[in-house]
């Protein structure tokens, strides 16, 4: 589309819509600097909630856990998911349709059902709930998303360039490392980005597979919001939003430079 200016009401509507999206986030950020502990009314400016946050051992521990789970599950899911994407986009094999169906499960099944099913599974095989079960669960829901994203990239992939490489004398391995992988790398990276975010963000499945001892950042935020709403939650949220903003901005800049 594009060309021709949109009508004035649509432009006003868009401005209102963006205000609706951003005012809550702005309020959240502003109130992270509030001196009032109950955080209902604005009382005065302080940075002390950030220093409370940085000394909060629970938060530090939860952040560590979250990062470990996210990194491991992203690496494994990206590897397994990319291989599956290659298989599905370039090969035909028995059970193809079944494999494809398998990939749609986490999109079609509500998270709460996946959460309780994993809980039942781990309890039944006597696997102690903790960081390991969370990571295993995250890998499971991340694989299909990585595959979906990488497949979309492979969709327009021209097999002729692989054939050309092999005609020029490269073997299959060399062709893969020198030709195929560099071409699909942007897709693999965006699949990994999605997996990382899904893992960092996940509350529901983590909640069911965490067990009593292990906390992640989303679980911690939930219980803070539920039980003790102080500006510390706002400070944590502010840092989270800013991190996302900066990471996305860098991604955007890199992308526009490449194209």
């Amino acid at each position: 589309m594009s060309e021709k200016k949109p009508p004035i009401w649509l432009r006003i509507y868009t401005i209102i819509a963006y205000l609706y999206i951003y005012i809550p986030i702005l309020i959240l950020i502003i109130f992270s600097f509030n001196t009032m502990k109950l955080n209902i009314r604005w009382e005065g400016f302080t940075l002390s909630w950030y220093s409370v946050l940085f000394r909060d051992q629970d938060i530090i521990q939860a952040t560590q856990n979250t990062l470990i789970i996210a990194i491991i599950s992203t690496l494994v899911a990206t590897l397994v998911g990319t291989l599956a994407a290659l298989a599905m986009q370039r090969y035909r094999f028995p059970g193809y349709a079944a494999s494809e169906t398998l990939m749609y499960i986490p999109i079609v099944i509500p998270e709460v059902v996946m959460g309780i099913s994993l809980l039942v599974f781990f309890v039944m095989i006597h696997f102690t709930l903790g960081l390991v079960t969370i990571t295993l669960a995250h890998i499971a829901f991340n694989i299909p998303f990585v595959t979906l994203v990488v497949r979309a990239r492979l969709h327009g992939y021209d097999n002729a360039i692989d054939e050309a490489a092999m005609d020029l004398g490269a073997n299959e391995m060399k062709t893969f490392w020198r030709v195929t992988l560099p071409t699909i790398l942007p897709g693999v990276l965006s699949g990994a980005m999605l997996a990382l975010t899904l893992s960092l963000d996940d509350y529901v499945i983590t909640y069911f597979t965490a067990g009593p001892g292990s906390t992640t950042l989303p679980l911690r935020v939930f219980s803070m919001v539920r039980f003790m709403v102080t500006p510390e939650v706002n400070a944590l949220s502010t840092l989270w939003v800013l991190t996302v903003f900066v990471v996305l901005l860098i991604g955007q800049i890199v992308q526009s430079r490449n194209s």
């Binding site: 999206i21 028995p94 509500p110 809980l119 890998i139 509350y203």
Partner: protein
């Protein structure tokens, strides 16, 4: 290489050679890690839930291996019927409102000049990538008694006391829409963006008024986006339990809350499993119906 030579080689290093020559074997080798993993950690657990839904609850909240179909008949109780109906209502309302609110916005972004477009899209993505409990918390701050909304309305002399919006069904709807709006906007945008502008121009040149161009050309061409967005919004909305937990009161119990409670507080796993089965069947029927109507795949990816 001729066939006979290949066969010769096969005899020498059978397995490696088979894999190198046989595309079926290669494909299977590449797909099997994913298939095995997903079978063990997704299909098997779901099958366990199916079995569990027909078992009995022991005295101490344990599971007893005794066939018990009453988990399902219990769901026919009007209390649960009402909860199920309310969940469907919330799911449908959330989806419809997200389409209505998101469509004009996606349309505007799709028609904006390229430079503006990437900025506008970026601004949609930031909340989309931000933790969803944080987004709910932002609205709790706004809606709670003496919160931002009350302050603004009192300052403008529109209301006197507090609206007491938090912990009501309205609060749950506000939370749901804010939560899922980006999931609707992104697929809508990607299908609107693909529409050739010349098509709209042609329709206008042939004398169609703008509303007719929209109804006859733009809207039908954006159906894949609407369908993808509906799947991305309706299914998670139907199974949601976090938003009613944090923003709703005693009356806003969804099927997701029932399932969560049976597994973690009431400890009646078989009954919780039966409730999960109902939810799963509902979403599957819904997706099958929808995917039959239109292709399912690329528009889901943004």
């Amino acid at each position: 290489m001729t066939t006979t030579q290949a066969e010769e080689n096969n005899k020498r290093v059978p397995l490696m050679k088979t894999i190198r020559e046989n595309r079926v074997a290669q494909g299977l080798l590449l797909i099997s890690p994913a298939n095995i993993y997903l079978f063990l950690l997704m299909v098997l657990p779901l099958l366990l839930v199916v079995v569990l839904s027909f078992l009995s609850r022991g005295t101490y909240g344990d599971v007893v291996f005794k066939f018990n179909p009453s988990n399902y008949t219990r769901l026919l109780d009007p209390i649960y019927g009402r909860i199920l109906f309310y969940s469907l209502e919330v799911g449908i309302e959330t989806t419809v409102l997200c389409i209505l609110i998101g469509y004009p916005l996606a349309y505007y972004i799709a028609r904006a000049p390229a430079r503006q477009r990437s900025l506008l899209l970026f601004l949609i993505l930031v909340p989309f990538w931000t933790n969803f409990i944080i987004r709910i918390y932002a609205w709790i701050m706004i809606l709670r008694a003496g919160g931002f909304l009350d302050d603004v309305l009192q300052w403008a002399h529109i209301t006197q006391g507090s609206l007491n919006l938090l912990y009501t069904p309205t609060a749950v709807m506000i939370g749901m829409i804010y939560e899922f709006l980006p999931f609707m906007i992104l697929p809508l945008y990607s299908s609107l963006e693909k529409i050739e502008f010349s098509l709209l121009e042609a329709a206008a040149d042939l004398g169609a008024p703008p509303w007719k161009v929209f109804l006859r050309v733009t809207l039908p061409l954006s159906v894949p986006g609407i369908i993808a967005g509906t799947i991305l919004v309706f299914i998670p909305a139907l199974g949601m339990f976090v938003i009613p937990d944090l923003m709703g009161g005693a009356k806003t119990i969804l099927i997701g809350n029932v399932i969560r409670n049976q597994f973690l507080t009431a400890r009646d796993w078989p009954f919780g499993a039966a409730a999960s089965m109902i939810l799963m069947v509902l979403t599957m029927v819904f997706t099958l119906y929808y995917t039959r109507k239109a292709g399912f795949g690329e528009d889901l990816l943004v």
